[in-house]
């Protein structure tokens, strides 16, 4: 509402209030005073005084009693007469007091209204600025406008939209990054496979010729080269696997049941780990590729088993549903992840294993799987008392 409209509204309200006040004062408040000092009342009291005197004369034995009553009536009459002299001033002060009260109330209401208008103006300005930022592509906005009113609700929506935008951007960036890595891995696998095949053929021939040439140490050298070629083929296979992470085949599942099944099936898969699966109290519906999700958990537990070594450890898989959707948290009590690895944890070929063991593709593949599901894989915390990952999954369509 503009200030002109507010002023007009208050002018009308004020005029109405003053009119009603005047009416009230004239018709109601003023009359009680007029009634109190009505000439008839005074005349009746005077008459009563005369009566007391007559009674005292006719009943001398009760004179003291009548005299006392006379005194009371006389005092009352005196008070009323004093009141009648001050009647105008009393009425004037009464009106003044009520007018003051009315003005104070009107001023308080106007002040509260002005304050509210100013506050709403500031909030709307913040909201407008936030919407401008959102339109300009800024994400993770904090509007700073709380409240359950429409402005507060819109501000909440703007913040939620900006958070979603930020999340989607990160997801898209991750997917683009992983796609680039996948393409590189596919090429590497393709380029390496042909020479490796040729090398193996040549090596087989060399192995067959070795005894004929009478060089017994040649057999040992061939075996050693074969081992290296085997290792290269495994790497190539890993590249190929990473390059061909399939699209998930989504089906509606109960997340609690998935976690429980995994616990039963894989409970003893890692001898040095104690696996504990916690399912939620209520069923949590998700749309996932069961096998791919299992693959993620396997990758995570594989890493944990490697990190814990022969000391062993405990892993808890806890499923649930939060404000942002269904999730599974995988928490272990291992040594945590090396701090220098954390910034690039989900990038391919980054491994935290001691001595650089492993290809460093497990977490990258796992995150790719979750992103392909419309969810995400995040490290929630890591420290000397363990690490905790969270698998976020989208709500199935049609679910609240």
């Amino acid at each position: 509402m503009s200030w002109r409209a507010s002023l007009a509204t208050f002018a009308v309200l004020g005029a109405t209030a003053l009119f009603l006040f005047h009416l009230f004062q004239r018709e109601i408040s003023g009359s009680w005073l007029a009634f109190g000092v009505h000439p008839q009342v005074l005349a009746e009291l005077e008459s009563s005084l005369a009566d007391q005197k007559r009674l005292a004369r006719s009943e001398p034995n009760r004179k003291a009693e009548y005299r006392q009553r006379f005194g009371r009536i006389e005092a009352l009459l005196g008070h009323l007469r004093v009141l009648s002299f001050s009647r105008g001033e009393i009425a004037r002060r009464y009106e003044l007091a009520l007018s003051g009260l009315l003005v104070a109330v009107l001023a308080a209401v106007a002040g509260a209204h002005a304050w509210r208008q100013a506050r709403e103006g500031r909030r709307l300005e913040r909201l407008r600025s936030a919407l401008g930022d959102l339109a300009a592509g800024r994400t993770d906005l904090e509007v700073g406008v709380a409240g359950r009113d429409p402005i507060g609700r819109v501000a909440g929506m703007v913040e939620e939209a900006s958070r979603t935008m930020a999340k989607d951007r990160r997801r898209i960036a991750s997917l683009e990054n992983l796609s680039a890595w996948q393409e590189a891995a596919r090429r590497h696998a393709h380029e390496m496979r042909t020479p490796l095949t040729a090398a193996r053929l040549e090596l087989d021939q060399l192995g067959r010729l070795g005894p004929l040439l009478g060089a017994p140490e040649a057999t040992h050298l061939v075996a050693s080269v074969e081992q290296e070629i085997d290792r290269l083929e495994r790497f190539t296979q890993s590249f190929a696997t990473f390059a061909r992470v399939p699209r998930p085949v989504l089906r509606r599942e109960d997340l609690g049941a998935l976690v429980a099944d995994f616990g039963e099936l894989f409970g003893s898969a890692w001898p040095n780990l104690t696996l504990c699966a916690e399912r939620p109290v209520k069923p949590v519906a998700v749309t996932v590729d069961r096998e791919m999700i299992r693959q993620v958990w396997v990758n995570l537990l594989e890493n944990t088993a490697q990190a814990c070594g022969e000391h062993g450890g405990k892993v808890v898989l806890a499923a649930g549903e939060g404000p942002t959707g269904p999730f599974v948290e995988v928490a272990d009590d291992g040594p945590g992840i090396a701090p220098e690895v954390l910034p690039r944890l989900f990038e391919p070929y980054v491994s935290g294993r001691p001595g650089g063991g492993g290809m460093g593709l497990g977490l990258a593949i796992s995150r790719k799987i979750l992103l392909d599901h419309g969810g995400d894989l995040e490290l929630i915390e890591s420290g000397p008392r363990g690490a905790r990952f969270r698998l976020s999954l989208p709500r199935p369509e049609g679910a609240g």
Binding site: L49, R67, A75, R81, V82, L83, F85, E89, R92, A97
Partner: protein, 228 residues
């Protein structure tokens, strides 16, 4: 012009003239007289008879104390002046049907014997001698003094005002209804903040103030007699 309208206008003009003349005659005919006693105190010795005027007389029998405040300002020929005040309280005792008169002058207070009738009161009024002020600074030989006198009529006394204020505050105070009141125990006085409306009650109660109903002004030339 309509003859009836002319007659009516003439009557109105005549009434106004008569009223003005009456007032003028009354004011001109009666002025206070003064005497200077041996101590140099100026006395009012013959206050104009205002008791029987219609704006005064009804108040004399109200049972309340009617105060007549006399204010005097005397100025000599050199412009030197003195001020003084006196007061005459008249209260009609309704039970005994007598007038009680008290006179407060400069440094004196006097209670007169009860007065039995209004006529007697008029006589007492005319015989009143009200000491007003010492005239030491004024020059008695330099010429006549100019004395300005104001007589104000106040319909009730200060103690009656206080009583009425207290009664009024008690009357308008909002108290929860009680089925049985303890004998001998007075309800709390609202004016002292005994309830939530204390400030408003006090504000309203204090509007009961003494104000003069009417006042009369005279200017008199007084020639002090040296040596008296």
């Amino acid at each position: 012009m309509n003859p009836r309208a002319v007659r009516l206008a003439a009557k109105v003009v005549f009434a106004i003239c008569m009223a003005t003349a009456e007032t003028w005659v009354a004011n001109a005919a009666a002025v206070p007289a003064f005497e200077l006693d041996r101590g140099g105190v100026l006395n009012v010795v013959a206050l104009p008879e205002v008791l029987s005027r219609r704006e005064v007389r009804p108040h004399l029998i109200s049972g309340l104390t009617t105060s007549f405040l006399v204010e005097v300002e005397a100025r000599d020929a050199r412009g030197q002046d003195v001020h003084g005040m006196g007061r005459i309280d008249v209260r009609y005792e309704l039970w005994d049907e007598v007038y009680l008169v008290r006179v407060f002058g400069a440094g004196s207070a006097q209670r007169l014997p009860p007065v039995r009738s209004f006529e007697e009161l008029q006589m007492v009024w005319q015989r009143l001698r009200l000491p007003i002020t010492a005239t030491g600074p004024l020059d008695r030989r330099g010429g006549p003094w100019k004395i300005e006198v104001t007589l104000s009529v106040v319909p009730f006394s200060q103690s009656e005002q206080r009583d009425a204020q207290r009664w009024f505050n008690d009357s308008i105070a909002v108290r929860p209804p009680t089925s049985v009141e303890t004998p001998g125990v007075r309800p709390r006085d609202s004016a002292t903040g005994g309830d939530d409306n204390g400030v408003l009650d006090l504000f309203l109660g204090s509007s009961i103030q003494r104000r003069s109903l009417v006042h009369y002004d005279w200017t008199v030339e007084f020639r002090p007699e040296p040596g008296r």
